[in-house]
Amino acid sequence: MTERVVIVGGGTGGTVLANDLADRLEPELDAGDVEVTLINDDPDHVYKPVWLYVPFGQREPADGRRALDELVDEAVDLRIDRVTEIDTDARRLRFDGGEPSMEYDHLVLATGSTLEPDRVPGLAEGGHDYYSESGATALRDELLEFTEGELVLSVVGTPHMCPAAPLEFVFMADDWFRERGLREDVDITYTYPIQRVHGNPHIAEWARPIMEERDIEVETFFNAESVDSDAETVTSMEGTELDYDLLVTIPPHGGVDLIEAAGLGDDGWVDVDKHTLEAEAAEDVYALGDTADTGVPNAGSVAHYQAGVVGRRLASEVRGRPATATYDGKTLCFVETGMDSASFVEFDYETPPSPAPPSEKLHWSKLAYNESYWLTARGLL
């Protein structure tokens, strides 16, 4: 009997896993013993880190898009459709538009994050973001014209995709305005919801002195409660009001509703064993990337490493062997500290991050990785 592996979500985690399984299970796929299906609601795969560079006029959103059917191994059945219901008892998925349902033996959820700006009144009208393709291009149009005034970067909530990206944005903006001779006319303020500038204390300790050196104002314990786009003010739950001329926010994030509806976890994140990535509430269900509630950052490198673990575990299960591969929390990030310098961090569940001294070499390493990302998506790197 053919075993059916179904992956929902064609972002980094889902795509790397599909290609990993195509390679790892090649004999079983050739023999028809296994089927691997990847379901995504968009025919394109999107590499979101490109959006950080769009507002500065350095990249185009198209640089981060490729057709999934060009990236995914032909041994994988690619289906462009939207899953509307997960029934873990019947092991069945239902789809938008009354399409026939699909049964699975092994399910992997890699549905990622969604932006929820409407959770804060006025945010959608008054704030810009670079966490969506449309947001990044709209912000580019504003930023390229911006020559003086108050630029406020507000992290509205955590967890959010790429925890380093808010720091990267203000470091890049600071350097970009300096290079253009405009920095004295632009004030930059960074806000963060807790009492330090980043969720990870080691990264916060590293970043705070750089912000002081570069005259980036900081407001901690700032949880945006409302935005008044007419008055151009943002007010926090803690009672602080900031004026802005250009407001850039990291909007609140959530997962997808069908995960909560399926009883797999709250807010669209799946409760998992943080080492095996198996769902706690259902059998034969894995989650990876942003979808897995492991406490590690929502980052592409995490999804990449987790896909390798789930790939090895699924191959063992399909072959009737005990699954022994585990995820150790490995995370790896390049962190831009300007327009031509970057740092680098690597950490896991046991080892805290220790950011490398910023250098031009690390900046070019980040750009080189961005170019070679498509090899990662194909499962080659």
Binding site: R119, G157, T158, P159, P193, I194, Q195, G199, P201, F221, N223, E225, M237, E238, G239, G295
Partner: protein, 78 residues
Amino acid sequence: MTDIEPDETVDARGAACPGPLMDLIGAIRGAESGDVVRLLSDSEGSLTDVPEWAEEAGNELLAVEELDDHNAFYVEKA
């Protein structure tokens, strides 16, 4: 044991810092003035994070209950 009756309980046990505080902030955001939110956390950081944030935001930390393997924080929204 406290006899405070919470209006809402947020179970953040198992979450790493700053997850429990962010879960509390999310619950307070959706609560009415005068509501009491109980946060369950086994993160050491919550022992400093929660009182500091409650004071900063003007909310009142009514009690911290030490239980076997976690703490319960009772916060009243201002």
